[in-house]
Symmetry: C2
């Protein structure tokens, strides 16, 4: 195992790869990133673990089989989900990161100068199909953007008391539906459900008329906790493997009618899309910054010293059917989030709830302070009152059939970006 | 495979077993029941599938290995969960039921007269340890008792408009936490959390002071559905493998502070207990009765012809620390439920949500029409205002440390009962 002392070298902004595409300053996958995912390709439809680098994917199953990757578990990358690898623990994630960073660096000849070996362990991303990166035992969604909670409270409750009293005391969260989490690129069918129209006494059944996105990130639990044994806030980040982009598709009309008193259900369970590459917390380390000041000071179990926010630029694009170009409809940043991931995990477990490797925890909609930084159409159009203008003409209040929505995000380094790739879904018409 | 035409013979009230304890008219596990579970025992700590019969467990792994059980999958009972067996489909569940009913019937000599074989395939229940019967990919909890919803609405909202308008239109449900579902007998630690005391502006952190049960049943999904392909109400029962008792432990004080607007979270996720034996829907068939009249008539997607309720008598007992006897604190019946399991499953999937084999769906608290038929201490003591008297002295408003709570339930046949066994948990003190 490599010394964890070598970890800082993997962040070195000047490190370049012999894979030239990885050195594109606007690319998502430089040598400083090395995110993990599950892929298959045209020549080999077996799913296995890969790492994105430039326009290539490193096949870790092949790399381990070739004896070029030291990991204390045989064939742990020849799997259809990252869970078994993640379960090996943080020292192993870090060791693999360090080994890959060395192997892919300009001055390492092992792969660079061996065309036959390269052909065995590298797959062009364009030839690959990406799959759900983890088997997700549990999915939880939080509600941790103050701006989002304030906007929603203003619209549906009381603008003067938009934030409920519990919001400032805890990272409010709820259980999501893990079965319907899908990977970027999976088409999403517009849901049917009960709609309560203002002019009718009883609900009608029909296709959602207010289909929306929620721009979120999600983190993947890397080390769980036993039932009855909470994770302390100071320890929580060590339990996190990495992050993805997450689109918490939402049927606003279904939600508004069903959500009292037990929370959203069918309005959310029809699909949740995540990006295919899990960017490790280690790769995000250089982009750590201070979280917003929390006032009132949280209760003791929610306190942590130091900086626990991350500077991740986020954008949402909408491509209308037949449009050549997508319109950017929102730009925001993960750093605006009031509650940190560590606080979310500490709160989730404080009553005794156990978590498991692969659990997905959504951030909640990420809205910034300005009107163009909101993370949902609900907020961007103020519940349909202010339609958005699209680049090639036309407007949107909510999502129409055939629209393709994408989330993208990256951390801006010095001459490079640590990016997430896209989190995309196209809307299919509702079932008749 | 046996003809499904033989299924009715397995319900025959006059059928007796050569296992004498199975013929006790007050026993839970007569030959008409044959529930499935996972067990290990003193001589063999490998978990495998068993069927309860009287005071014995039939080891299905051993029975299949001995060539006495015809199933189209080798070693499917040598597993630590029922999922692989369940995934074989309803025809196989029924075939196994028919084969077991014959093997265990008085007039079948195969096992009855072969002591060596009996020693191989029968384990005394007293020597066995029971485990979680299914690996649960997803847990959903409904809220389908009109009496319970009315009671809660009266206490916390408005007695005059206790039932929210959406309640009569759909089986309200929410996503639960699958990771913390435990099997009967698992001790449950009192949760810590945020409590909002009436005389203080900010919440305090501490041990739950209003710990409660919720008397529920749960059903196990036997055949899932693909994302975007709803299950029709008329077809829904064919997707259900069987039922268990379910205690949805609830921290009322944590719940009251946290649940707005996204529903209960830490108040519920610390533990949910289920009974170890899954009683198949086939075993419950003779106890099918008409559901309550639904007014207004549900929307078309929630309509089904025929009878879809089941007559299951339910009781809750509380045993105080050091008490010799438990006090029965509630008696009710599953037949009071307003929304049927079929309607719950149709609603769950109508927007496109997929379900998977082993998914657990809780009924919601089962409260009857009378004050002694309520399914929670919240209702039985009317939020602590009317303490319950215990049999050996003392009173209870909510659960105290060391209390053991049990749910039991059975269907009353002619000279026999189809029972569920107990769903029990003892409360440990909160972490300091």
């Amino acid at each position: 195992m490599n010394a964890v002392n070598d970890l800082p070298s993997t962040f070195d902004a000047s490190r370049k790869s012999w894979i030239e595409s990885a050195n594109d300053p606007l690319g998502d996958f430089p040598i400083q990133n090395l995110p993990f995912g599950i892929f298959s390709d045209r020549d080999n439809d077996t799913r296995r673990v890969g790492v994105a680098i430039g326009d290539q994917i490193v096949d870790l199953a092949a790399l381990q089989a070739a004896g070029l990757l030291s990991v204390p578990a045989p064939n742990v990358f020849a799997r259809d989900a990252l869970n078994d690898f993640i379960a090996l623990g943080r020292d192993v994630w870090r060791s693999v990161r360090i080994q890959l960073s060395r192997l892919l660096a300009c001055d390492t000849a092992t792969l660079r100068d061996d065309a036959a070996l390269r052909a065995t362990v590298l797959v062009r991303a364009a030839d690959a199909r990406l799959h759900l990166p983890v088997q997700i035992p549990g999915y939880t969604d939080f509600y941790s953007s103050k701006e989002h909670a304030t906007n929603v409270g203003s619209m549906f409750r009381d603008p003067k008391n938009a934030l409920l009293p519990n919001w400032s005391e805890m990272p409010i969260g709820y259980n999501g539906r893990a079965s319907s989490v899908v990977v970027s690129g999976t088409p999403v069918r517009r849901p049917n459900g009960q709609l309560k129209l203002p002019d009718q006494e009883r609900p009608v059944f029909g296709a959602c008329r207010k289909l929306d996105i929620e721009l979120e990130t999600g983190f993947i639990v890397g080390a769980g906790n036993a039932l009855g044994e909470p994770i302390a806030c100071e320890d929580a980040e060590a339990h996190i493997f990495g992050m993805v982009l997450l689109n918490d598709w939402s049927a606003r009309d279904i939600q508004q009618w069903e959500y009292v008193p037990l929370g959203p259900f069918n309005a959310k369970t029809f699909a949740t899309t995540i990006s295919p590459w899990v960017v490790t917390l280690d790769a995000l380390e250089p982009f750590r910054i201070a979280q917003p000041v929390q006032e009132p000071q949280p209760l003791a179990y929610l306190r942590h010293r130091g900086e626990h926010a991350f500077d991740i630029h986020l954008e949402v694009t909408l491509r209308a059917p037949h449009a050549r170009q997508a319109s950017t409809i929102a730009r925001t940043n993960f750093k605006h989030m009031y509650w940190t991931m560590a606080q979310q995990l500490a709160h989730h477990t404080v009553a005794g709830c156990n978590t498991r490797v692969g659990d997905l925890m959504g951030s909640g909609t990420i809205s910034g302070p300005t009107e163009d930084s909101y993370g949902s159409l609900l907020e961007l159009t103020w519940n349909g009152k202010k339609p958005l203008e699209l680049k090639e003409g036309g407007t949107r209040t909510f999502i129409e059939d055939g629209d393709e929505l994408s989330l993208v995000g990256w951390c801006q380094g010095d001459g490079y970006r640590v990016g997430f790739g896209a989190c995309t879904g196209e809307i299919l018409p509702a079932l008749a």
